[in-house]
Structures are given as structure tokens and as C-alpha cells.
């Protein structure tokens, strides 16, 4: 079992003076034969081993669940190759979509890419790649509880560094909301209207600015293939 898939759970443990790996070794042996099962039971194991504040227990529970989910989503080689071919097909289709004007795009139906799962969390565990090297759990603790959003995408690329084909990506609340709206197949125009209606705008200029921003957000979702065309 490769503990690098649970680096944030383990790091959180270190930050609060809890040696997660040692605890799991005690339970499952040095080969971590039952790592997955025992990690799932970590919450109750930790609770019985040591008294942590409720906040830390919640954090531990949440990050353990997130990292377990990401680990679970990994694909085998044959599936990754299949996903790669499909992803390439979507990239070719994207070439045609992104040169269309808004009028032409508006009536096209899109849906959330089935390779994508979206999530909410109370702490900011997921950051953009450009920030990952400076990712600091102390900051997560300092920021405190809030509303954060992210997605996992099963890609057609197996990354040797991370030992996974699952890519994680932080979302803004606006991106998350838009992706939720595409949970079922919808026309761009319909989603745009529903999205804009959730905001209070008082002038025509504000409305136009919001429309431009919404179109930009949707364009980015199409570019990232987080939403795909539904025929």
C-alpha cells in the first residue's frame, strides 16, 4: 500500500501530533495488509487511542474520506487507455465548439462529463497545481471551517509521480454551481439564464457584465471538458 495517496491525512496527523502510520501499523501490521479497511476505521481508532478536539476529528474524518474516494476512483491500465481515446475524441469535438459564437452554442445541449465527480468540503484540501508545492496544512487549520468545492476527474493519463490517473481540481462556488446545473443535459442558454437569475443585478451594465462572466465560465468548462456535448 502506497501511503502517498493519503499524504494529507498523514500530514494532518503529524500537525496534531498524531502518528497515523504508527497507529495503522499497530492495527494492520507493517505491511498495511488491511490499510484500506483500517483507514476507514481510523476515526474510531483515533478516538479510542487519544482524545482529540471535535474539530480535529472532523477534519481527519473528512480528509480521510476524500483521499479514500480519490484512491477508489483510480482506473486499471486498460480502462485508462479507453478513457484516453474518449478524451481525445472530446478534444477534437472541443476544437469545433470553441470557435462557435454564443448564438450557435446557446442551443447545444451539454452534460457533466461522466469522468468527473464534484464535491463539497468544509476545509480547503484541494488547491491548484501551481499552489501545491506551497500547500501548508497550518493554513488549512488557520482558515477554519467554510465551504469549499472541488472535483475529481478520471483521466486517460497515468501519472507515475502520483501513481494515479485521477486529477483533482479546486472549484469556485460559481463553477460548482454551474456544474451542478449540468447534472442533467441542458442547453447552454437555459443554464445561463438560471445561473444569472440567482444574482441581483440593478443596472443593464451589471447584467451585461454578469452575462459575459457567465459565458466565460461556461467556455472554460467546455475547454476543460468538464461539460461535454450531448447528442
Amino acid at each position: 500500500m502506497d501511503a502517498r495517496h493519503f499524504w494529507r491525512t498523514i500530514s494532518l496527523g503529524e500537525t496534531i501530533n498524531l502518528d497515523i502510520l504508527e497507529i495503522l501499523k499497530k492495527v494492520s501490521g507493517t505491511n498495511f495488509d488491511n490499510f484500506e479497511t483500517d483507514l476507514k476505521n481510523l476515526f474510531s481508532i483515533v478516538n479510542s487511542e487519544t482524545k482529540l478536539g471535535q474539530n480535529y476529528l472532523e477534519m481527519l474524518c473528512e480528509i480521510q474520506a476524500i483521499e479514500m474516494e480519490k484512491f477508489r476512483l483510480r482506473d486499471v491500465k486498460r480502462t485508462i487507455e479507453k478513457v484516453f481515446r474518449e478524451d481525445l475524441r472530446l478534444s477534437a469535438e472541443r476544437e469545433k465548439l470553441l470557435v462557435m459564437d454564443h448564438k450557435s452554442l446557446n442551443n447545444i445541449r451539454f452534460i457533466l462529463n461522466p469522468m468527473v465527480e464534484i464535491y463539497e468540503s468544509f476545509w480547503e484540501w484541494t488547491v491548484k497545481e501551481s499552489r501545491q508545492r506551497s500547500f501548508n496544512l497550518e493554513n488549512v487549520l488557520k482558515e477554519g471551517k467554510g465551504d469549499y468545492y472541488f472535483l475529481f476527474e478520471r483521466t486517460g493519463v497515468y501519472d507515475h509521480w502520483l501513481d494515479t490517473n485521477v486529477f483533482e481540481y479546486p472549484l469556485t462556488q460559481y463553477q460548482y454551481f454551474l456544474l451542478q446545473l449540468f447534472g442533467e443535459e441542458r442547453e447552454i442558454q437555459s443554464v445561463t439564464n438560471e445561473f444569472i437569475e440567482t444574482f441581483d443585478t440593478f443596472t443593464f451594465e451589471e447584467e451585461q457584465e454578469l452575462l459575459i462572466l457567465t459565458r466565460r465560465l461556461i467556455k472554460e468548462l467546455i475547454f476543460k471538458k468538464h461539460i461535454i456535448r450531448k447528442y
Binding site: 478534444s91 467556455k219 475547454f223
Partner: protein, 292 residues
């Protein structure tokens, strides 16, 4: 306008380094992506420019011409003479390439891709570069780092900072122009700077930090000292909204992508790079994959 790529292969042959800004192994997530980047960069420029020249060494010629079969219109195998230099000085291949030019040119980094020709403002400029680097912090750090490690800073840089009280440095993702004499002087002056400090280039020196001084800062300061205006492709990075490494730029107004700094080590950038290469030049992708 002639396009130039340069490739001094000695730094790239070093063992894979986890620091993405230290361009040993090119700073890439995996060597195959470095090759894909060479291919997409060369081919994307070839589509819009008749002349694209490669300045390299024998190993670079073997890789880029014999193995990858990239369609450069000319190849100058001139960089083997740099092999006595430490591999930390990975940007000197570019400096050498500047000094070899006798006609107007634009040198482009191998992680720059275009989907349209540059405009006349750029192609007619005496000097051109990618954009002005507003992050002065990098240069503050660089100058302190170099001084701390014994590197003697040239008078021209000291005078420039004394006069302007800021660095105001042009990023050399693309760099070139019509003023060939300037580039010959720049190449000579850069090598003087490097050669006079060669004994101090040891394990303490951060290669990337040194490079931004002898390449970009020196270029910018020399242009100012000679009152030559540098035209920038991106005139204001802040207002032109731009994450240069985002491939969505292919569908925007300025169809230009540069996998600047750490971006070449990102999963997302590498994945997108590979897909673009497959879509546009599949036979080159196949050839690269067969090497691994």
C-alpha cells in the same frame, strides 16, 4: 522573419530533478513531454513562418533532427563548444545563438506555441520580448542570492538599478528583433559576465535565479542604456488577463501559449500539450511515444 530555437543538450542529460524551475531535464514532468513540446513548438511556428532555424549541439541534432525528424529549415551545430560550462548555466545556448545571427530573428523557447503569426509591431521592432515581468521579488531575490555567493554584478546592472530604482525586466519567452548588432553586443557582454564569475558557479548557485539575470535583466538594462525601446508581445500581463500556460489561449485573441516556469511540470499542462500534439501532428506524437 526568421524563427530560432536553441538547444544545448548538456543540462537536459542530467538526472531528473524534482525542482521544476531548475531546467535539468528541462524541468518537465517526464522526458516525453519535453520532446512533445519541442515538436509542437517547432511545428506550430513552421505553420506561420517559412524559416525556422535550430542552433544546437551534436546530441541535440541527433535527437531533434535524426530521431524526431522536426522540419527545421536550417541547423547550426555550434553548441558543443559550451560543454566546458557547468550545466547549471542552461540558458547560455540561447545567448550563443543570438551572437550567431546575421539577420532579423525571433528566438522562441521550446515551450512556446502559436496559432497565428505575430503582428507587424512585433516583427518590425528593433528589439522585442514576451512581456514585462512585474514580479520584482524574483529579481530582488536573484541579485541578493548572486551577491551572497560571490558573483560580481556588472556595472551596467548596478547603474540601471541606481537610476530606475526597479528592475523592469522583459521576459525572454520570445526575444529578438531587427537590431542584430545589439544582439551581438548582448551575447558578448553576457558571456563576459558569466566568464568573469565562472569560479563561483558551484552547488550553492540556483541556475534559474542566475539565468534571469544574465539573460533577461542584462538584455533589458542594455536596451535601456542604448535608448532602444523593447516591444512586448503581451503589453500588459495584468490587464490582458493572462495565465500564459493555459491552452484555452488557443481560442482567444492572442493565440499564444508559454508553459512558463513550473507549468511544464503540471499534470494538466502536460496532458493538454500531448492532446494538442496528437490532434494537430499525430505522426510526431507516435514517433515520440515509440522512443519510450
Amino acid at each position: 522573419m526568421k524563427i530560432i530555437h536553441s538547444y544545448w543538450s548538456k543540462p537536459a542529460k542530467a538526472t531528473f530533478n524534482k525542482n521544476p524551475t531548475e531546467k535539468l531535464n528541462g524541468g518537465w514532468r517526464h522526458p516525453k513531454y519535453q520532446y512533445m513540446s519541442w515538436a509542437l513548438s517547432c511545428l506550430s511556428f513552421k505553420k506561420y513562418y517559412d524559416e525556422i532555424e535550430l542552433v544546437t549541439d551534436r546530441a541535440g541534432e541527433e535527437l531533434l533532427i535524426s530521431q524526431l525528424k522536426l522540419p527545421y529549415t536550417s541547423v547550426k551545430v555550434e553548441l558543443d563548444k559550451l560543454d566546458d560550462y557547468p550545466k547549471k548555466l542552461w540558458a547560455i545556448g540561447k545567448l550563443c545563438a543570438f551572437g550567431l545571427q546575421n539577420e532579423p530573428f525571433i528566438h522562441v523557447d521550446n515551450d512556446v506555441f502559436i496559432w497565428e503569426q505575430f503582428n507587424k509591431r512585433i516583427e518590425n521592432a528593433p528589439l522585442l520580448a514576451q512581456h514585462v515581468d512585474f514580479d520584482e521579488g524574483h529579481y530582488n531575490f536573484a541579485m541578493e542570492h548572486l551577491k551572497k555567493n560571490g558573483i560580481r554584478i556588472p556595472q551596467i546592472l548596478q547603474r540601471d538599478f541606481k537610476k530606475y530604482k526597479r528592475y523592469n525586466v522583459s521576459n525572454a519567452g520570445i526575444i529578438g528583433g531587427n537590431d542584430i548588432e545589439f544582439f551581438k553586443k548582448f551575447s558578448n557582454q553576457a558571456f563576459e559576465f558569466i566568464d568573469s564569475n565562472i569560479e563561483y558557479v558551484n552547488e550553492n548557485i540556483i541556475g534559474a535565479t542566475y539565468a534571469i539575470v544574465y539573460e533577461q535583466y542584462l538584455f533589458s538594462a542594455m536596451a535601456r542604456s542604448e535608448n532602444i525601446r523593447i516591444e512586448h508581445f503581451i503589453e500588459d500581463l495584468r490587464t490582458e488577463n493572462m495565465d500564459l500556460s493555459n491552452f484555452i489561449r488557443k481560442y482567444e485573441k492572442k493565440k499564444y501559449v508559454h508553459l512558463i516556469a513550473g507549468a511544464k511540470s503540471y499534470f494538466e499542462s502536460c496532458r493538454e500539450l500531448e492532446q494538442q500534439l496528437i490532434l494537430e501532428y499525430p505522426e510526431y506524437h507516435t514517433r515520440i511515444i515509440s522512443l519510450f
